[in-house]
Symmetry: D3
Subunit: 265 residues, 6 copies
């Protein structure tokens, strides 16, 4: 299979277009930091909580911790999804996603800057139209930055806590409409695309152009080197745009130096 980039998608986007992305700050009043990220129809509410505790494995190490929890309102989805609190356990998918979000954030913070504090990012999907884990990462960075800024104002931060920005985006390999044609590399899949994509790649990247996580999964046929390279290239383009959105909303709210203004290759 040879991947390519073709011009038309169901919602009129070009293959490398993101859906419209907006991030509304301070979306919930009690949290130490919060935002609502919208990416197309997908909507995730993110709240950062700062608590004076750390997990046992960090005791007496002078470090803080960043972790995440993920949930989905039952009717965020097209069909109602049973409530995990009723089922009595979080699904494997939920556990996998919240681990990913936590790792993404820990990849760009200096945990020695906020010793003995745990910051928990609650990412709750209000409307789901694919891409919820990536939108959670992108938005969680913003909520985390706001919480850290508040800590900074309260003089509870020892050093610059954020080394660079982190965001995530999905890329898919969509079957060509007509078989002889090549499959299409498409950025930021919506639900209709996601459910039929041949390959689904999630990239968690930083504003210096590096990766915290790359996870590509073939749902049907395996993918080859050229597919992988094209998808990573597409993802990188999407990340660049997401960093712009993050910087735009955080500018003036957090110290400039946290926003890593290096140009991204």
């Amino acid at each position: 299979m040879k991947a390519t980039q073709m011009p038309h998608r169901a919602d009129g986007r070009k293959p490398l277009d993101l859906r419209p992305v907006s991030i509304e700050l301070d979306a919930t009043p009690h949290a130490e930091g919060s935002c609502l990220i919208r990416q197309g129809v997908t909507r995730v509410l993110i709240a950062a909580t700062v608590e004076e505790k750390t997990p046992p494995f960090l005791r007496d190490r002078g470090e803080g911790w960043v972790t995440a929890e993920y949930g989905m309102l039952p009717r965020a989805t097209h069909e109602r999804t049973p409530r995990e609190a009723v089922r009595g356990r979080q699904s494997g998918r939920t556990l996998e996603i919240q681990r990913l979000i936590g790792r993404a954030l820990r990849g760009v913070v200096d945990r020695k800057a906020f010793p003995d504090l745990t910051i928990t990012l609650d990412c709750d999907v209000v409307v789901a139209d694919a891409g919820t884990r990536c939108a959670s990462v992108t938005g969680a960075f913003v909520a985390l930055a706001l919480a850290l800024e508040r800590l900074s104002k309260e003089k509870r931060i020892r050093a610059r806590p954020i080394r660079e920005l982190v965001a995530a985006v999905s890329v898919g390999l969509l079957s060509a409409p007509l078989p002889p044609a090549r499959a299409i590399v498409a950025l930021d899949l919506d639900y209709s695309e996601d459910s039929t994509a041949e390959v689904d790649l999630n990239i968690v990247g930083t504003s210096s152009g590096r990766f915290v996580e790359v996870q590509g999964i073939a749902e049907g046929k395996p993918f080859d080197d050229a597919d992988l390279a094209a998808m990573i290239e597409a993802g990188r383009k999407g990340l660049t745009k997401l960093f712009l959105v993050q910087r735009e909303v955080l500018e003036g709210r957090v110290p400039d130096e946290w926003l890593d203004r290096r140009s991204v290759p």
Copy 2:
């Protein structure tokens, strides 16, 4: 203890003032009916789901069912509340509230109008500042009406499904600032009032001036007949205002006859 009504509250409201209430329709795109109710700072997102099934005890009885689930985002509260899906079970409080919401709605619908269908109202608290169970009832009626109207358009309703409106409001007995004075009957408590109230009364009432549920609980000292009468009277005033809000948002969206325009005593 003799209850009375005094003029001043922390947020400037008079004793029988509701907090500002607004209901935004169609708050979530996938649900058959939905709204976002705001009552002061409290915010609850409600989604109605219609499914072709009924519980076993209704098999072959030609009736439908209405039920509710209730949840709270972890950081809806001032301090973070652990996620019930992580704890592995819904709390007693959650179970109690969702049973109350279901009973309230079943009190005003004609379940024979939608045989073999179950309508589930998911009430998820986005921001909590007391009164979440009452706001859930008031909002859930609206989301239910929208879902029923959609069923009606699809010709899946056999008769007028709604007999009258239902809403709920809390009333509290607040300690008098100076002991010789009487305790104050206050309508629609916020968190700071709720956590110190001597008595907490929730009234679920209908637009014909009747009750589906009256639940008064003394948190400290017991209350007497006069307290109870004054609280019920106050609650009735609050309900009247809530029915106005419900009618206002539903007018034009659902058949006029569902909105029960009798004057309330």
Copy 3:
């Protein structure tokens, strides 16, 4: 709907008759206080346990705690009810009832009289014929008084721990046998009445004529002010009789001053 009181019930009782009530003290040998309450066919075994601990939120506040747990033997009911220990969780109904019992008792004790102690009332239904939550409250007060008396003998009480008596009773609105007639207000429903009542009201009241909790629920049609007033009036009559039974069995076993001999209006 206009409520009234009519003369005949299936078991021959008049509308405002309680079922025969008896309370047998010291029903189980190991508990610090215990009794078996019978109300008609309903039978609940209640055991009070005193433990040297308090919940975290009471640490260092010089107060004790009173709480309750509720259970039902599987074959207490007409049909066998699955064992909650097998199902792996307590039902919403169970949690709701045990919270009610605990609140009722806390409404009449002075928790500063027994600092750093928790008294747990285990209410286990041996035979169920409706009214189990109310019988649990009425009996639990007796078991609690016995346990406090024992603490008093052991000089572990600082002050008079009981301010007044507390008991509970159910009242129902039963459909009139012939429609033009009014619905009947009936006291202390049995199972056959409870399962068909239009409204079910539980009153938790104290011997000074005040209320700790009033909870009225319409199972079918909503109820109006007159119904509510009539039901509360009926409940008050039932409570008066229950306080007599409590005083009779506790007289001579606990200090007279704990038995609050004021006349009830």
Copy 4:
């Protein structure tokens, strides 16, 4: 260690004396068969439920099923035992005991006599002073016989359903008060004996002098052949007395032929 039988026990019993045993029939009104067995201070309420169902592995085999569940009220014990419904699971001990009760009963019934029916014996310990599993077996046989007799009256039994009686008793090897003396074989241990016994043997035997189960466990030092023989001999004597009690209470209530009047060696 050489076992022997010595004359004195804390409660005045001789080594081979049972505690006083009584069985009260029809102890709970709703069950198809029920009794309350008292053995010394120990008290177990047993209810038999007949349901028209069988486990999957018996489908279409023309057999019925007999099973048991076991529970303990929280304050049946000297110290309060946490409620299993609150802990969310039955303990290993509970599961082990209810399996034993079910096997004991299945050992003496002809399951082809009541095809497609399941009889569940709920054994709930109201007061525990050791020997609760054995008392449960002895009492459960009585409740089962009553339920089968009721089925027989209703013509739902195809053949004689009970082949012989079954009962259970504990035997212990108690440390000799003075070391040179031999350990004492004692029948039907109470709590103070049970918690210090060197060996604990439970015998489930039938009225023809045979065994359904023999389970001997050394809590401390292992036991030898002579110990085992002496304990089994003692258990057999206890069983003979228990069969007399069972026959006495069932005589006239169930057909004589069910009571297996063979003399026991």
Copy 5:
């Protein structure tokens, strides 16, 4: 029913033959002691873990603890058995078996020899062909001895920790092929025998000829004294052979005095 011993079994063994038994030491590299026991087709991997902790009831008593956990790989059995971690709880059978293994080992160790240490024996069935609980006991003794020897080398043992050997074996009463003939007492049942045996007896015995546990269960018809005596006699013969296997593999690895070279009657 009169038991006897007849010459032929499905796999050619004589009634009192064990299946071939072998114990491979050091079967897993990380454990403090481990072995793989094979008994016929049955295979159990056993790992001993030493941890510096003891259960709460042993605090400050200068004793150690020995406990066991038991599990079965899903496809150890002929048909796949659902994984207990997926079902969310250990079955009653699993809990019963791991309690038996722990008791067996505690019956032969001197817990004062390793104060404040807990040794956990994980017995995981890799292939099941009946007899897994007995093989677990026999093998767990070997793994325990290896772990204790290691503690001894590290000077963490205060006294001789093992008083004698312990092993376990099953004995069954198999229906006679032709009814007039007697049932057969057979040692060490395999799955085909176990699933049809009339009586199943497990004996946990020590190398001095004594018992830690004897558990005989009639699956169908009850058994009599003669049956029991014959089964115990057969079990004793099996144990003698198992002690030889244990001694053979441990010889040279643990101090000779731990291997209790008394002749067994």
Copy 6:
């Protein structure tokens, strides 16, 4: 950070050496297909079970299903890991791994070849020294092939069920011993390497040189394009060797055409 490949590792391997790999077929007697894979010290037992059922979402689609479960013996690890059946749930890590194994296998089979059958691969880690998820994939392919071959012999397969081979390998980016030097790309990490690696990449690849899954995670510093390319290149080399091992053990056991003898680029 610029990645490179340096010559020395703790166990003497060169950076691109795999640990010794062996796969023993038919490792457990009851399964339809099974093997034991050893990769260095890591050892995983894999059993394939064929059952006549499929998940609900495949009903009436003429397809089969392949799924996996993963577990770890408690003492597979250096320190004992609590048993998931005791904890009452599978961890997020376990759920994530078993989803990965299932996806890997589904990426190379033709599910239409075995309609209405589910094949479950149980991967149980007997000894863990890192790389258990990758070894599980590599071994599970072999067990699956054996099970499919058995189905083929029984004429229950409609078409060639395997399109190509699938295996998995880990690659890590290890910190350079001396800072100015570059980090080392190392293949098939063992535990000591895995716990300190800067980046951990798992590649699931097929014998045609394509990928089913690529998952790279930075544990500390993010990685760049060059790192990613070098790690993927290394992984590809490892996979080529693993396919040789798979082909070698399966040759003669399964049809030649299943073993995809194309050369790998």
